[in-house]
């Protein structure tokens, strides 16, 4: 039993001549929220797709519980307990809460010689799973099309947790959400951590990440800038590294210029 559930050692990924990831090192621990930060195009998506078994690393090692592993497909990663909640959530709007909850992993029971979808039990499990995330589902057979973005996010997370995820990868879970819904999702993240899961939270919003995260890894243009524990780094430092200090300074100067013009106008 390794200290870390998941470890990346010098993982690189190329797409033809494009270097999407170069020498990424990352350590994921159970019961920790690991925040993966980076601006657009930093390689966050490629990295999580590599973790999720969609892409195979071109170079480098992938240790699962200390053992070198290679995932051939998303299914393999899932079987190993690595569940990914993508931005599109992998939910089908036209399908009911229960059908979405059990999509691809339908709960079956014997009915004579046939295996049938046990809808009654599935409904109960889906309802209970969502209640634990703080969402009350009136009718689990109702299509999810009318649910809010935050509720859908929680449904996707609840589903991953129910199916035995040990490592939960969340891709920009708060990107499209309002303030209140973002807070709800972050609460759910904290709840997942309390249950002993490792959570990898991908975001470019430090303000969302900082309160719940235990560890940070920063990506920039396909390379890792390093990993820090929360105690080692402040919110401002992260922000600065992320945006590149110079750009932020430029922005501030520009804003100051606006202020000056405004005061002049008055």
């Amino acid at each position: 039993m390794s200290e870390y559930i998941l470890e990346l050692k010098n993982v690189s990924r190329y797409f033809g001549s494009v270097i999407a990831l170069k020498d990424i090192n990352m350590k994921i621990k159970l019961g920790e929220v690991h925040c993966l930060l980076g601006d657009n195009g930093a390689g966050k998506s490629t990295l999580i797709k590599t973790l999720a078994g969609v892409h195979k690393p071109s170079e480098g090692d992938f240790l699962l519980d200390g053992q070198p592993t290679g995932f051939e497909s998303p299914r393999d990663a899932l079987d190993a307990g690595i569940a990914t909640v993508y931005q599109d959530l992998a939910l089908v709007n036209l399908m009911s809460v229960t059908r979405n909850f059990f999509m691809g992993r339908e709960l079956t029971k014997k009915w004579g010689p046939f295996n049938v979808f046990d809808t009654k039990k599935a409904n109960e499990i889906a309802r209970a799973g969502l209640a634990e995330m703080g969402i009350d589902v009136r009718d689990p057979e109702h299509p999810i099309g009318t649910m809010s973005g935050g509720e859908k996010q929680c449904l996707a997370i609840a589903r991953a947790i129910h199916f035995g995820a040990k490592v939960l990868i969340l891709d920009e879970p708060t990107a499209a959400l309002g303030v209140k819904q973002s807070a709800n999702v972050l609460k759910v993240v904290a709840r997942a951590r309390a249950r002993g899961l490792a959570v990898i939270l991908i975001t470019h919003n430090v303000h969302h990440a900082y309160p719940v995260a235990d560890r940070f890894t920063l990506l920039n243009r396909g390379k890792s800038l390093g990993s820090w524990l929360k105690s080692e780094v402040s919110r401002e430092e992260i922000l600065e590294m992320m945006a590149g200090g110079q750009e932020l300074a430029d922005l501030e100067a520009e804003l100051a210029e606006f202020d000056r013009l405004d005061t002049k106008a008055i």
Binding site: V92, L94, M103, V116
Partner: protein
């Protein structure tokens, strides 16, 4: 309004029921059922013809047999088309497949001296292989199934005519009844069941008889039995099995389904094969009922099947629909087609009706989809 619920591992969880969600009435809930349109449509159609054509013999034993046979024939291919459409794909080659499968049964039986049952198995295997090919090309190339199956529409129709001329020098191959006599497989498609029951009904004077005392309806044709069988199996599979959930998922959002591990490619290919299977059942029933196969059999049937499915509440974009709905769609189709015949009206009106019905169904479905997905 919110309630606090105590659970084991986390202290207090707030469950808030949204004050902005109105209680939905039962009527509104019913509206989200895909079958609603076709079931109520069927009821309307029945009422209409009961008034207009009630005394024309449409609802006598032979009249009922008449329109239920037409409905069942269409229903068989509509069931295949329905599952395929829910999975997000089309098959425009259903009609051509009917003609092709009919020839695959008749030519070996009459010209190559094969036992009839082997011809039937050959036709099913051949059709399902073509269905596989159709699906494989769609899935692997990512081309719209509309185009791929349109190509197969022409390929199969052309092959049917060309091959039947090559092997037999004609486009209508008749005489299958003679060689099929006594073959159990052939009887499973062209036979009737319940003949003794109908004899009994005739003797008890409950149904009309010919002058010699034999009943005017001798039994229930196997095509109706196949229809009911396929309808119940397909509906059960769609609603109550894992595979059924995969069908919905594949059509609802293929990328999402794939990401979560649903084998959408396999689902789609197998449904193309099932559609071909249904077309072959249709063809076999026709061949053994009429005792012949013709190269133009099944012309335009693909569109009739799709219309029945759409009337049945399925969305053209996939992910939503119902086998029961499609069956009622086929029933509406059969009843109206025969009803217009019974009322003595010009049968051209049937097409006008069909077009209007299709348009109404699509508009209605669109409305339903907006309700279900919450987009306005």
């Amino acid at each position: 309004m919110s309630t606090a619920v105590k659970t084991n591992d986390s202290p207090v969880i707030e469950i808030s029921s949204d004050e902005r969600v109105r209680k939905e009435s039962i009527v509104k809930k019913m509206l989200t059922r895909p079958e609603l349109g076709s079931v109520s449509g069927a009821i309307l159609v029945f009422i209409f013809f009961a008034i207009v054509a009630g005394d024309s013999g449409m609802f006598n034993a032979d009249g009922i047999l008449n329109w239920s046979t037409v409905s069942a024939q269409l229903g068989i291919i509509a069931i295949g088309a329905c599952l395929l459409m829910i999975s997000g794909e089309f098959d425009l080659s259903i009609g051509s497949m009917i003609g092709f499968a009919g020839m695959m049964i008749s030519i070996p039986a009459l010209y190559w001296g094969w036992p009839v049952w082997t011809c039937i198995l050959f036709a099913f295997a051949g059709a399902m292989f073509i269905g596989f090919l159709n699906g494989y090309i769609v899935v692997k190339t990512g081309l719209p199934s509309f185009i791929v199956s349109l190509a197969f529409l022409f390929i199969l129709r052309g092959l049917t005519i060309a091959l039947s001329i090559l092997f037999t020098n004609k486009t209508i191959v008749s005489g299958v009844s003679e060689v099929a006599d006594g073959d159990i497989f052939a009887a499973a498609f062209g036979g009737e069941i319940g003949t003794s029951f109908f004899n009994w009904l005739a003797q008890a004077d409950l149904i009309d008889t010919y002058v010699d005392g034999s009943p005017i309806v001798t039994g229930i044709p196997m095509v109706i039995v196949w229809f009911l069988l396929l309808a119940s199996v397909a509906s059960f599979v769609l609603l109550r099995t894992r595979y059924g959930n995969w069908i919905f998922a594949s059509g609802g959002d293929e990328k999402a389904a794939k990401n979560i591990g649903v084998p959408t490619d396999k689902v789609k290919i197998s449904l193309f094969m099932f559609t071909a299977f249904c077309a072959t059942v249709f063809a076999a029933c026709q061949v053994f009922e009429f005792g012949s196969a013709a190269a133009d059999r099944g012309l335009l049937k693909e569109f009739e099947a799709i219309i029945a499915v759409v009337i049945g509440g399925a969305l053209l974009t996939g992910g939503y629909g119902s086998v029961i709905g499609a069956c009622f769609g086929a029933l509406i189709f059969g009843v109206v087609q025969m009803g217009i015949f019974f009322t003595g009206a010009d049968s051209d009106w049937f097409r006008v009706f069909l077009g209007i019905m299709l348009l109404a169904a699509v508009l209605f479905n669109n409305f339903i989809r907006k309700r279900v997905t919450g987009s306005h």
